[in-house]
């Protein structure tokens, strides 16, 4: 792909991820469970990982967290570090799965991505918010990550078809 074209696409992906992440921050949480959400921003990361690779995927998710926190006024707050760690862990895990476990489709990768996002957040939360019983919440986050991961996975598969055609 041409350099300029690549840059434009990359910027569009960052913008899309930021907008989706911010939108999800603004919308009232449809689930009565703290920390559970659809993860639309993660959808973009997943697509970028498939279309480009680890470096770009990581860049998109990091920039997305940064921009969304600046928009929402949460930069360097506890919430920012939670999103940050969740985004980094899930991007890394998904990239490893894409590279080394070809038997998994984008849906399986998305599922594990959603769960690792939640686990990353919980790990950071238990470190930052010093409370002894936070891990009791892990099963809830694990179970919640399955349907949301599946949903974004199916969406990603649909979108990936169009993206691949276009290129």
């Amino acid at each position: 792909m041409l350099k300029t074209r690549r840059l434009v696409y990359f910027s569009l992906f960052v913008t899309l991820a930021t907008a989706l992440g911010f939108l999800e921050m603004l919308l009232p949480n449809p689930f009565p469970l703290p920390g559970v959400k659809l993860g639309l921003a993660n959808l973009v990361t997943l697509l970028v990982l498939y279309v480009y690779g680890l470096k770009e995927g990581l860049a998109v998710s990091l920039l997305r967290v940064l921009f969304a926190s600046l928009l929402g006024g949460t930069f360097l707050s506890v919430g920012f570090f939670l999103s940050f760690s969740g985004a980094v862990l899930s991007t890394l895990v998904m990239a490893v799965l894409i590279k080394y476990v070809p038997a998994l489709s984008i849906i399986g990768v998305s599922m594990v991505g959603a769960i690792s996002h939640n686990v990353g957040q919980l790990l950071t939360a238990s470190f930052l918010i010093q409370t002894p019983y936070l891990f009791y919440y892990l099963p809830v986050l694990l179970l919640a990550g399955l349907p949301t991961g599946l949903a974004t996975g199916y969406l990603a598969r649909l979108l990936l078809r169009y993206l691949k055609n276009y290129q």
Partner: protein, 124 residues
């Protein structure tokens, strides 16, 4: 969805359900009196000892973002009001079993029911 996806889903679902059941046993109903710990920015600011038949009580907690109101009734505790945008802590409602935790991330307030309550109660 490939075969591997399906297997993975099944394994994760099993792990989730098993740990969920385990966590239900882990947070056992509390014996009276119970102890509620409130932390702000990692520091304990209040410890409440709650009796089973305790009347409704309200406490104002100064969090990082502003004032929050914590309500207790009997051995239950909840975040009644919080100055955070998402209101996740308020929506969570009452907690009453030991080791249950309410976390308000924006306000950096944590409320949890401690399991050491009975020991502390006997030692005064």
């Amino acid at each position: 969805m490939t075969r591997t996806d399906q297997k993975l889903l099944l394994v994760l679902l099993l792990i989730g359900l098993l740990t969920f059941v385990w966590s239900k046993f882990y947070t056992h109903p509390q014996v009276s009196p119970s102890q509620v710990v409130i932390k702000v920015e990692g520091e304990i600011v209040k410890i409440l000892t709650l009796q089973e038949d305790a009347p409704l009580q309200r406490f104002t907690i100064k969090g990082k973002r502003g004032q929050a109101i914590v309500e207790t009734k009997g051995q239950k505790v909840r975040m009644l009001e919080a100055p955070c945008p998402d209101q996740i802590c308020v929506k969570q409602g009452w907690i009453e079993s030991s080791r249950q935790t309410i976390v308000c991330v924006p306000n950096e307030v944590v409320i949890y029911i401690d399991e050491e309550a009975s020991v502390d109660a006997t030692t005064g």
